[in-house]
C-alpha cells in the first residue's frame, strides 16, 4: 500500500509498544467474535429474519468486515448494501484492494478468521426450503448447510483452488456425498459426469479420472464451474472467474456461465475488475472504492450515465476506439487508493477527484438517489449545493451517445476481400 500520503505519514511506523497494545486489544475482540461463531445447538430463531423483498435471493445490508491486524484495524468492507434479485447477474467492480473479494467471502462466511470478522450488518438469504437466515449472525455449524449447497463459489485461480493430490472425480463427488447422503456411489459418479458434460468437457469419463495438473487453464475453470453447480445452488459467486485466462478462453467461460445460469435458474454475483466483462454479462452493477459502494445502478445507468467521478474516471481510462482514432492521451486518475487502516473522515476519493469542493474534505457523502435503483455517494448531487454551479463529471460524447456516430467495430468473418481484388473485378 502506498505510504506517501501526508495524512498517513505520522502513523506509518508504530513502536513495538504500540503494536503490542493493539494486538492485545485485538485478541480480546477476536475471541469474543470467535466464541459466538463457534457456539453449538443455537436456536434457529436467533438468526432467522425476514427478506425486505421476497424477489431477492440475497440482501446485503450495511455490511462491515474488518481485519484486526497488529498495525490497526483494516476496514476492508465498510458499510456495503446491495441486493441480488432472482435470476439476475450483479457485477461488482473496483480496483484491487477495494473489498470486492472480502464482500463475497463474507457472504460465504469464509473470511479468514480470527483476524477477519464480520463486525456489523446483515446478509439476508432465503434457502430453497423457504427459510430466511441472516448469514452474518449464523454460527459456523449451521452455515455448513448453506455453503456449497445453496451458495456456491467459483474462485479466481483454478489451479490453487483445486486440490492437486485428488482426482477431479473425487473432488466433484465430495460435495454430493456430503449434501446427498442417500445417493449411492454410482449415482454420485453419474451425476458428476453429467455435470462435466454440462460444462462442455468432451471426454468426461477420462477427465473424471485425471488430476488437476493434467488439464489446461480453461478446462480447470470448467471443472470449478461444474463443482460449483453440482448441488444446484441458487446463488453463484464468481470471484474473477476469467482473470487468469486468455481472451478466447474467457469468451468460452463467460458464454458457459450465462448458459448454466439459465439452466439452473440461479443468480450470479460476478466480481471482476474488467468493465468489458461486466458490460457483457451483468444486469446490475455495483462500483466499490476503498470498502464502500460509490455507485450502484442498472447496467445502462452505469455505462451510459455514470454519476460518480470515480466511475467516470474508470471508464475514461480504458483505451477506446476514439483514443486510437485521435491518438489522444488516456485519462488517468491521479494518486492512489487511501490506506485501509487509516481511512479519513472525508470522502475517500476527494484527493484524487478533480470535481471535489469544500464539503468533500469535511465529511463522507451519503447516497444520493436518481431514477430507479441508481445511486451515487457524491456531494455533487446534493440539492443544497445546487446554486454553486458545480461541474459534473461526464463521459466523452462518443461513449455516452446512443446515436449512430458511435464507433463500432465490425469484425469480418472468414475470407476478407482485398482491395486489390475488388479493383480487379470492378475495373
Amino acid at each position: 500500500m502506498a505510504k506517501d500520503n501526508k495524512n498517513t505519514k505520522n502513523t506509518q511506523y508504530l513502536t513495538i509498544k504500540e503494536e503490542r497494545e493493539i494486538a492485545k486489544s485485538n485478541r480480546k475482540i477476536m475471541k469474543q467474535f470467535e466464541r459466538t461463531k463457534n457456539r453449538k445447538n443455537v436456536d434457529e430463531s436467533e438468526f432467522t429474519t425476514q427478506m425486505h423483498d421476497p424477489r431477492n435471493v440475497i440482501e446485503i445490508d450495511n455490511l462491515h468486515t474488518y481485519f484486526y491486524t497488529d498495525v490497526g484495524t483494516t476496514k476492508a468492507v465498510n458499510g456495503v448494501s446491495f441486493k441480488i434479485p432472482e435470476g439476475k447477474i450483479v457485477g461488482v467492480v473496483g480496483e484491487s484492494g477495494c473489498g470486492k473479494s472480502v464482500t463475497s467471502l463474507s457472504v460465504m462466511q469464509l473470511v479468514q478468521g480470527p483476524v477477519g470478522q464480520i463486525v456489523d450488518g446483515s446478509i439476508r438469504y432465503t434457502t430453497s426450503e423457504g427459510k430466511c437466515y441472516d448469514i452474518a449472525k449464523m454460527p459456523r455449524d449451521e452455515m455448513r448447510r448453506i455453503r456449497g449447497k445453496e451458495i456456491a463459489m467459483i474462485f479466481q485461480e483454478p489451479m490453487t483452488s483445486l486440490n492437486p493430490v485428488f482426482k477431479i472425480g473425487e473432488q466433484l463427488d465430495e460435495a454430493l456425498a456430503i449434501f446427498e447422503p442417500k445417493m449411492s456411489k454410482e449415482e454420485v459418479k453419474a451425476r458428476s459426469i453429467e455435470m462435466l458434460e454440462m460444462v462442455g468437457i468432451a471426454d468426461q469419463k477420462k477427465i473424471y479420472n485425471n488430476y488437476p495438473h493434467e488439464l489446461s487453464g480453461g478446462m480447470r475453470q470448467r471443472v470449478m464451474i461444474a463443482m460449483a453447480l453440482i448441488c444446484n445452488p441458487r446463488l453463484i459467486i464468481a470471484d474473477e472467474p476469467t482473470t487468469a485466462l486468455d481472451v478466447t478462453i474467457q469468451a468460452q467461460i463467460l458464454e458457459l456461465l450465462l448458459e448454466v445460469k439459465n439452466k439452473i435458474n440461479g443468480s450470479i454475483m460476478l466480481i471482476t475488475h474488467d468493465l468489458g466483462v461486466i458490460a457483457g454479462m451483468a444486469d446490475y452493477v455495483v462500483v466499490m472504492y476503498a470498502g464502500k459502494i460509490v455507485e450502484a445502478g442498472d447496467i445502462h445507468d452505469i455505462f451510459k450515465n455514470p454519476k460518480h467521478p470515480y466511475t467516470v474516471g474508470l471508464m475514461r481510462s480504458l483505451p477506446s476506439l476514439s483514443h486510437v482514432a485521435t491518438g489522444s492521451r488516456l485519462y488517468s486518475i491521479p494518486g492512489q487508493v487511501p490506506s485501509p487502516v487509516n481511512l479519513p473522515d472525508n470522502c475517500y476519493f476527494c484527493n484524487r477527484c478533480e470535481y471535489s469542493f469544500d464539503i468533500c474534505m469535511e465529511q463522507y457523502p451519503p447516497d444520493y438517489y436518481f431514477e430507479d435503483n441508481h445511486r451515487a455517494a457524491c456531494f455533487l448531487y446534493d440539492e443544497k449545493y445546487k446554486d454553486l454551479d458545480l461541474v459534473k463529471p461526464e463521459l466523452p460524447r462518443n461513449m455516452a451517445d446512443d446515436s449512430e456516430s458511435k464507433m463500432v467495430r465490425k469484425i469480418p468473418q472468414g475470407r476478407v476481400v482485398l482491395e486489390s481484388e475488388t479493383d480487379r473485378f470492378g475495373g
Binding site: M1, A2, K3, D4, E95, S96, S216, G217, G218, M219, D246, V247, T248, I249, Q250, A251, Q252, L254, E255, H273, D274, L275, G276, V277, I278, A279, G280, I299, H300, F303, K304, G313, L314, M315, S317, L318, P319, S320, H323, V324, R329, L330, Y331, S332, I333, Q336, M399, D402, V408, R409, I411, P412, Q413, G414, R415, V416, L418, E419, S420
Partner: protein, 355 residues
C-alpha cells in the same frame, strides 16, 4: 518417434537456411527501407528440450520461424494467447536465451555473432521491462541503487554525476527523488512498474522490450503507465516491442502488430489494417473475443472450440487448423506461406491465394 523428431528438426533447419537465401533477395529490393529498421528478426526459432535426459528427446517449439522488422521510433505490438511464445520472442531477441536458429539484427549487427564483450557493449541499448513488478525488483536494494547499478556498470555517466542522473531519470518516470533510499516493498504496484521502467530507461536504450508491463496493474494505474511509456517515446524516440494479451491496450499503443499462434506468426501488419480488416481467422476470433465496455454492444463472438494444442506436438500443416472453422483437408498437408497481400499486411492462411 525420436528419429522422426530429429529428422524433422534437421529438415526445418535446412528449410531455414534456404529460407534465408530467399529472404535475402527480398531484402536487396527493400534495402533502402532496411536502413530505417532498428530491429530485424529473420526466421527466428527457439526450441526448448522437453522430457527426461536419456529418453527420447522432444522439443517444445516455443518460437518457430518468425520474421519481422521494427522501424526506428515505432512500437510493435505482439499479441497472442498465453503459451504462444510471445515472451520467448522478446527474450530471444535480446539474447537472454540463445536462439536455435535464425538471425536477429540490431542496428545492422547480427547479435548472435557478437562476442561477449561486444554484446556487453550493446546491452545498454536493448532493455527489457518485465511483467511482474513484484518479483523483478530485488527486495534488498534501495530504489536508487536498483536504477543506478547498471548505469555505473556501463559507465553511462561519470560516477560523480551518478546520483544527479538517477534523480533526473526518476523524475522523468514520475518518481520523486526522495524515494531513492526506500526499498521496493514500500511502493504500490504502479510505482514499482515505474521503477522497472526507470531502470530500463536509465541506460539510454534505443530499444525496449515491454513484456506485459500493465497486465498486473489496475485500470486506472494502467493508464498512467501507458501514458508514461508514450511520453518517454515522444521525448527520447525509443523503439518498443510491446508484448501483451490485452488487445485494446495494444491497439492504442502500437504502430504495427504481430499476431502469434503456437510459436508462429499468423498475421503481421499495420495496426489500422489489422484492426479494420483482420484476415486470419485466428485474428478475427481474437478480436471478437475482446469484451467491449458497452452494454448495448452486441458482439458477434467467434467462439473458438477447445484449447491451444501442445507446442511439443503441434498439428501438422497450419497449426491453427484444429480450432479453425474454415479448415479444409489441404490445411493439414502443408504450411501456408506468409505472404504480403497489401502493403504492410502479411498473413499466413490458405483462405488467400498462395502465389
Amino acid at each position: 518417434m525420436s528419429n522422426n523428431q530429429v529428422a524433422e528438426t534437421l529438415l526445418n533447419n535446412t528449410e531455414t537456411l534456404s529460407g534465408v537465401e530467399i529472404n535475402k533477395d527480398n531484402l536487396d529490393s527493400n534495402l533502402n527501407n532496411a536502413k530505417d529498421y532498428l530491429v530485424q528478426v529473420k526466421n527466428l526459432k527457439k526450441y526448448f528440450p522437453a522430457g527426461l535426459k536419456g529418453t527420447t528427446r522432444q522439443y517444445v517449439k516455443a518460437v518457430d520461424d518468425i520474421s519481422f522488422n521494427i522501424a526506428k521510433g515505432t512500437t510493435m505490438g505482439l499479441v497472442g494467447e498465453s503459451g504462444c511464445g510471445k515472451t520467448t520472442v522478446g527474450r530471444t531477441m535480446l539474447r537472454l536465451y540463445s536462439m536455435t536458429s535464425g538471425e536477429v539484427y540490431f542496428d545492422g549487427q547480427n547479435i548472435n555473432k557478437l562476442s561477449r564483450s561486444a554484446l556487453r557493449k550493446l546491452r545498454p541499448r536493448m532493455q527489457m521491462i518485465f511483467q511482474d513488478p513484484y518479483s523483478s525488483l530485488s527486495p534488498r536494494m534501495p530504489v536508487g541503487e536498483i536504477i543506478g547499478e547498471a548505469v555505473r556498470e556501463h559507465k553511462i555517466v561519470p560516477n560523480a554525476e551518478l546520483s544527479e542522473y538517477v534523480a533526473k531519470v526518476m523524475n522523468d518516470c514520475g518518481l520523486p527523488y526522495q524515494y531513492a533510499r526506500r526499498y521496493p516493498h514500500e511502493f504500490s504496484g504502479g510505482q514499482r512498474q515505474r521503477i522497472c521502467i526507470a531502470r530500463a530507461v536509465a541506460l539510454k536504450p534505443d530499444f525496449i522490450v515491454c513484456d506485459e508491463p500493465v497486465s498486473a496493474l489496475d485500470v486506472s494505474i494502467q493508464a498512467q503507465i501507458i501514458n508514461l511509456l508514450q511520453d518517454l517515446q515522444n521525448e527520447f524516440g525509443y523503439t518498443y516491442l510491446f508484448i501483451s494479451h490485452d488487445l485494446s491496450v495494444v491497439e492504442y499503443i502500437s504502430d504495427t502488430i504481430g499476431v502469434m499462434y503456437l510459436g508462429s506468426m499468423v498475421e503481421f501488419g499495420d495496426k489500422k489494417k489489422i484492426f479494420a480488416k483482420p484476415m486470419h481467422p485466428y485474428t478475427q476470433a481474437l478480436l471478437s473475443a475482446v469484451p467491449v465496455p458497452d452494454p448495448d454492444f452486441e458482439m458477434q463472438r467467434v467462439i473458438l472450440e477447445g484449447d491451444i494444442p501442445s507446442p511439443v506436438n503441434p498439428p501438422s500443416g497450419c497449426k491453427f487448423r484444429t480450432r479453425c472453422q474454415y479448415a479444409t483437408e489441404g490445411c493439414a498437408k502443408s504450411c501456408p506461406k506468409f505472404i504480403e497481400y497489401e502493403s504492410q499486411h502479411e498473413v499466413a492462411c490458405f483462405l488467400y491465394p498462395q502465389d
